[in-house]
């Protein structure tokens, strides 16, 4: 194994002074809390150790990791690495654990002491510590994937000064996911997954393990892309299949007057996750119309292998979303208990309307990029916030809830008609831009 990248990052980011400082502060905190507090000593030691681990290893580690990669781009050292002979695996390992070596080392001290404390306390289990370790690994790997995508987007404009806040978004997203996950518990301690009641601690830890593995595979896959290996989108397709499998098994709980009603949405959660994945990949992947042109050329030549290789990742997720929305519609047509809304006879079309809204939003993004809008993704983000948040809230609050069908799939027939109009309108705008805009003749002819 070539540890060059790991070694370089340790040279750059391992600070002995910080290491000693953190350890001293930690032991000082332990000493003060245990000597002042009247509560159980082991409980305090456990809580402080976990707190330090979350702040230093999980959160600060994510920042350091992301910042280390982005500074390669900022300081223009990334090109050299792209042309190096270090393998994608060695580079991933070096980037994942090099800038966080100090964080993991102090984290090991915190976890070791928390483990010792957990032996004398019945409230704390080793599984929770393992859970924390996996969560941190997942967070670090996801942060690195996010940073690698930023590096790909910003390859030619090394201004990444405004990107340092992205891991914050990731941490917020992670916490929201954790909160959502609790909605899937069918009673206080269990998840139901494909009819199996599974202990929530065990299920969450297993889920984290699997998602941490996916995130690490994501790092590896993106690193391969950066290091110019021939890279087929197999990982992404496999991940999409996994998402269908994982989320289709979950059962949602509803509480009415203290009674749980189990709602088995089957493909509904998987569809929702794919909508999210499509939006995220379109937001995060670089949009290059010359690559799209290549894709259409391959399409023209019916060169299936090349079509597969050159297909943007968001198209895969969109295709999965489409298939899932069809399956879900069929499922709702057959099983009337799943139907939402008032017009029962049409409500099976609801997923299709949602898909059309998704399509419209994607077309808005492509149009913004075609227009070469400055900070197109940021403008798109604002548009999404306005269209799906602020505008419907304002109109619904000030005027009438009837107008909401214009903004999101609130009514199958009205929203469905509106969404078809939006999609056609966006396609017309894109066609017009391609015909009269500033795109080169090559793109226009395509």
């Amino acid at each position: 194994m070539n540890l060059t990248e790991l070694k370089k990052n340790v040279w750059l980011y391992f600070s002995k002074a910080s290491f000693i400082g953190i350890v001293v502060v930690y032991f000082l905190a332990l000493f003060l809390t245990t000597s002042i507090s009247d509560e159980s000593t082991s409980g305090n030691i456990y809580a402080i150790s976990i707190g330090f681990f979350i702040v230093i290893t999980s959160i600060w580690g994510s920042f350091s990791l992301s910042n280390a990669l982005l500074s390669e781009l900022r300081n223009r050292t990334w090109v050299y690495q792209k042309m190096s002979a270090i393998s994608a695996l060695d580079m991933s390992f070096g980037k994942l654990f090099g800038p966080t070596a100090m964080h993991w080392l102090v984290g090991a001290i915190f976890l070791s002491i928390a483990t010792l404390a957990s032996f004398s306390s019945r409230d704390h289990s080793l599984l929770s510590l393992f859970h924390l370790f996996l969560g941190t690994l997942f967070l670090h790997a996801s942060s690195l994937v996010l940073s690698l995508l930023v590096v790909r987007q910003k390859q030619d404009s090394p201004d990444t000064t405004n990107l340092s806040g992205r891991p914050f978004l990731l941490i917020a997203f992670f916490l929201i996911l954790k909160a959502i996950a609790s909605s899937f518990k069918t009673d206080l301690n269990d998840f139901t997954w494909y009819g199996l009641a599974i202990n929530s601690d065990f299920f969450e830890t297993l889920s984290l393990l699997v998602f941490a593995i996916w995130a690490i595979l994501g790092v590896y896959r993106n690193m391969r892309e950066e290091l110019q290996y021939q890279n087929l989108p197999n990982y992404w397709v496999a991940f999409n299949v996994f998402v269908v499998f994982y989320f289709s098994g979950l059962v949602f709980k509803e509480v009415h007057d203290g009674v749980y009603t189990v709602f088995n949405g089957l493909f509904a959660f998987a569809f929702a996750m794919h909508v999210l994945l499509t939006v995220l990949t379109l937001f995060l992947e670089p949009i290059n119309f010359m690559d799209y042109l290549q894709f259409f050329k391959n399409w023209g030549k019916k060169s299936w292998e090349k079509i597969y290789a050159s297909m943007p990742l968001w198209v895969f997720s969109l295709a999965f979303s489409f298939v899932l929305c069809l399956v879900l519609s069929l499922q709702m047509l057959v099983d009337k208990s799943l139907n939402l809304g008032e017009e029962e006879s049409y409500s099976f079309l609801y997923p299709l309307v949602a898909f059309m809204f998704l399509l419209k939003s994607l077309l808005v993004n492509l149009y913004l990029h075609l227009k070469q809008t400055k900070k197109a993704n940021f403008v798109w983000f604002l548009y999404l916030a306005l269209w799906y948040g602020l505008l419907p809230a304002t109109i619904g609050g000030l005027f009438s809830a009837y107008g909401l069908f214009l903004f999101y799939p609130a009514n199958v027939i009205l929203s469905g008609s509106a969404s078809v109009f939006y999609v056609l309108f966006m396609l017309w705008l894109i066609r017009k831009e391609l015909k009269n805009g500033e795109a080169s003749e090559l793109i226009k002819s395509a």
């Binding site: 370089k8 050292t77 290996y229 080169s440």
Partner: protein, 307 residues
């Protein structure tokens, strides 16, 4: 040899390179010349495999850069116009890292570092951090990182921009030393004077198109060796001088200048003496006769005019 075959590259709004066919010779220092925005950097990025062109292929010896980029990078090193170093690493750590990046055998690393340090003349700065180095030294260190694995080809984009004259001179010497060690260099610049010192071949690019060499009827480089410009000034009529020169050798290219007539002539001294004797015998009152090496700048403008 690096062969670029029918290479075109399009950006969203315009075509940056158009049907480029060119070969970069081995053991030469080729200057890639053109004005700002000519497409030099795009061509270089396509050549080194950092950018995939819309069409065309690039071969480094027999390796297709787009099919086997990592194999190609073993033979080729590239230093971009804006390169970076790790400010908090020492010169030695930079070179150790570079050796590791090229998966060099551990037993060879020390020897490679010593050899590279000698080449880039930074022996006395081995334990200095990069942040403490001057711009010229940083440039040499970056080149050191690129050459530590002894690549066959070194591609540099605007390497001397921002350097003071002393640093430029030291860089020129380094390039010649590398060429003598068997490396082939491709150096892009829009400052022709800087290339005069070391370039042996010239490739001219403008508006994404290479200029055609009429002799070989293909896009090719223009040789700059074995040609001199003779600047002849006389007290009498310049038109008469031109007529005499044409009578002496009708195939000669000449150009009237403010100070006299410039003739593109052989660098053979005996032939130059014979020409001077002929003109004096013809009665021209010559007071200035100077053999000036044909400058790269002349070649550059000549190739543009010939298009």
């Amino acid at each position: 040899m690096i062969s670029v075959k029918n290479l075109s590259h399009d950006y969203y709004k315009y075509r940056a390179l158009q049907n480029i066919d060119v070969e970069f010779k081995k053991h030469a220092i080729t200057a890639l010349v053109g004005p700002n925005g000519a497409g030099k950097t795009t061509l270089i990025k396509c050549m080194v495999g950092l950018m995939k062109p819309t069409q065309g292929k690039v071969f480094i010896d027999d390796i297709n850069v787009y099919e086997q980029p990592r194999e190609a990078h073993r033979k080729l090193a590239y230093l971009p116009d804006f390169f970076g170093l790790y400010d908090n690493l020492t010169v030695k750590q930079h070179l150790q890292y570079a050796a590791g990046c090229h998966a060099m055998d551990a037993s060879l690393v020390d020897e490679a570092i010593q050899r590279t340090i000698d080449q880039i003349a930074l022996g006395d700065k081995l334990n200095e951090k990069a942040i403490a180095l001057s711009r010229g030294m940083r440039q040499r260190l970056a080149i050191g990182q690129a050459i530590i694995s002894r690549p066959d080809y070194l591609v540099l984009d605007e390497p001397a921009s921002g350097l003071d004259p002393e640093a430029r001179l030291s860089l020129s010497k380094l390039f010649l030393k590398l060429r003598d060690d068997g490396m082939s260099l491709i150096i892009s610049s829009h400052i022709l004077a800087e290339l005069e010192e070391y370039a042996t071949e010239l490739v001219v690019i403008r508006d994404g198109v290479l200029f055609e060499d009429k002799a070989s009827s293909r896009f090719d480089n223009v040789e700059v060796e074995n040609v001199v410009g003779l600047l002849i000034s006389c007290l009498d009529d310049t038109a008469g001088l031109i007529a005499s020169v044409k009578a002496y050798a009708p195939e000669l290219q000449l150009q009237e200048e403010r100070r006299g007539v410039r003739i593109w002539f052989s660098d053979d001294k005996d032939k130059q003496v014979a020409l001077l004797r002929y003109l004096v015998e013809k009665g021209h009152k010559i007071f200035h006769f100077e053999a000036m090496e044909k400058r790269m700048q002349d070649k550059y403008f000549e190739s543009i005019e010939n298009k």
